[in-house]
Amino acid sequence: MVRAAGRLAARLARWVAATPPPVPPFREGAFRSRLHDEAPAAWLGVALGVTFTVCFVTGLVSHLIQHPGSWFAWPARPAGLYRVTQGLHVVTGLVSIPLLLIKLFVVYPHLWTWPPVRGLRHALDRASVPALVGGSLFLLVTGVQNTMYWYPWGFFFPTAHYWAAWITIGALIMHIGAKAGIVRRVAAAREPRPAPVAEGSAPAPEGLTRRGVLGLAGAASGVVFLTTAGTTVAPLQRLALLSPRRPSVGPQGFPVNQPAEAAGVVEAAMDPSFVLLVEGKVPRPVELSLADLAALPQREEELPISCVEGWSATARWGGVALVDLLHAVGASVGGPVFVESLQQAGLYRSTTLNPAHASDPATLLALRVGGEPLHIDHGFPVRLIAPNNPGVLQTKWLARVEVL
């Protein structure tokens, strides 16, 4: 009885395997382009493996800076390091878009493979693909939307993007395990397999070759790079026709993420009786007016402001070095320092500076930028500006400094 059932199941499986559904994508010869081939798939896969690894590592760095564990301390030097890692994250993600789309075009027929599963190895191989493709598309779409300040999802971007990245990178590792053999085979083949190219140097007549599609992927990535990278690579700024930010556009010549009005701080920031409270591990709490701050030793520092959305701009900041303030109030230097904004609500209204940042002489309580008092949207009366610090942690409209 059981045996008979087993035989029946095996016959059924053989019949299913031999009988693709009679709809176009399953039909023999449904995909005729010669670009649906393992050689371009392998090379595009290698390129995407590199770009996704860069995105993952730089994204992880940005996450750890904002949520440091006890084992992670982000240094204050070099001052422009975060500008590089986050610029790489965003730009590499952008240039991955054409690579991914062309790769998916090349391998699209595999989606309609029949039989759908040919054993355990094939099943495991295929199981990782929806996670990989869905995750990659999810990351690129939400990432691009976030750089454009377009939030249509109804979920919190950083958390959603972060965990999607782990799922995607796990699926990518599985995929590399399944496809490494193909890449090795393709890389080992010096000459392209069956070369239907006619004699002479005339280009293949019937459109893009398998090598040509790789050139096209490179060109498309190049176009995306040139039209967007100027958001952080200053010399390319004039070419950044498709960038949601221009590093030189905004009050006092650089962009703003959250204006004072949106943060609800206009009244408190413009209040002439404003004082900055310094407390915590200090001999006694001190309240400093703007005049008191201006009377302390002043320092000028050229520092970048680098946003998680990828844009960055360098400015000349002036104000009181945090270490000078700590000395002035009799606090010791070397521990962490917490700063808090006038802003009453919001996720980025405070920052804890780790010891490296808190004791760096270039970490300023900035009063001026480019020689002028700060524009209110840049954090008037006083904001934090520290070297190698993500923009969201450069707290604006400071109200309180607590020595920890």
Partner: protein, 154 residues
């Protein structure tokens, strides 16, 4: 189309490692799910994940395939490659430019003039014009070369 791959040791190792990393991602997703300001609304997350897959596999890829099929009929055939290149570059640029052209970010963040500060319509059209200028140049050169080689044969 696809040769059968042997299930080698690296395959099993990377499959196991990858599955573990993926499981960590799913664990994080589930433990961070909730209605809070920094939490993930799981239903919305899944919606975007699945929609991305369906829109690509069910809409974008078939459209590209059909366009490609159409371009394979173009004559003279030396124009096919330049047209394929022009179509792909235009598609990518337009995909990227679309949200900027619609000004979605500006709508979400009203009152911040440093968001979407450029004229994206003219930027998008400029890039398209440059792409098609290049395409026209290459196509013209190929047509000329074809005429020359035909004359040489005669």
């Amino acid at each position: 189309m696809q040769a059968r791959e042997p299930a080698t040791k690296p395959f099993w190792v990377l499959t196991a490692v990858g599955a573990a990393v993926m499981a960590w991602g799913v664990f994080g997703l589930v433990t961070n799910a909730g209605p809070g300001a920094t939490q993930i609304k799981l239903g919305r997350w899944l919606l975007w994940f699945v929609a991305a897959l369906l829109v690509h596999d069910g809409l974008i890829a078939p459209l590209v395939l059909l366009t490609g099929r159409g371009l394979r009929r173009v004559r003279p055939i030396v124009l096919r490659t330049p047209l394929q290149v022009g179509a792909v570059l235009s598609g990518v640029v337009t995909l990227l430019a679309y949200p900027l052209l619609r000004g979605y970010g500006q709508t979400a963040q009203g009152g911040n003039s440093s968001i979407l500060p450029s004229n994206y319509r003219s930027g998008w059209l400029t890039v398209l014009a440059l792409v098609w200028l290049g395409v026209a140049g290459v196509a013209g050169w190929r047509l000329l070369r074809r005429r020359h080689s035909r004359q040489a044969v005669r």
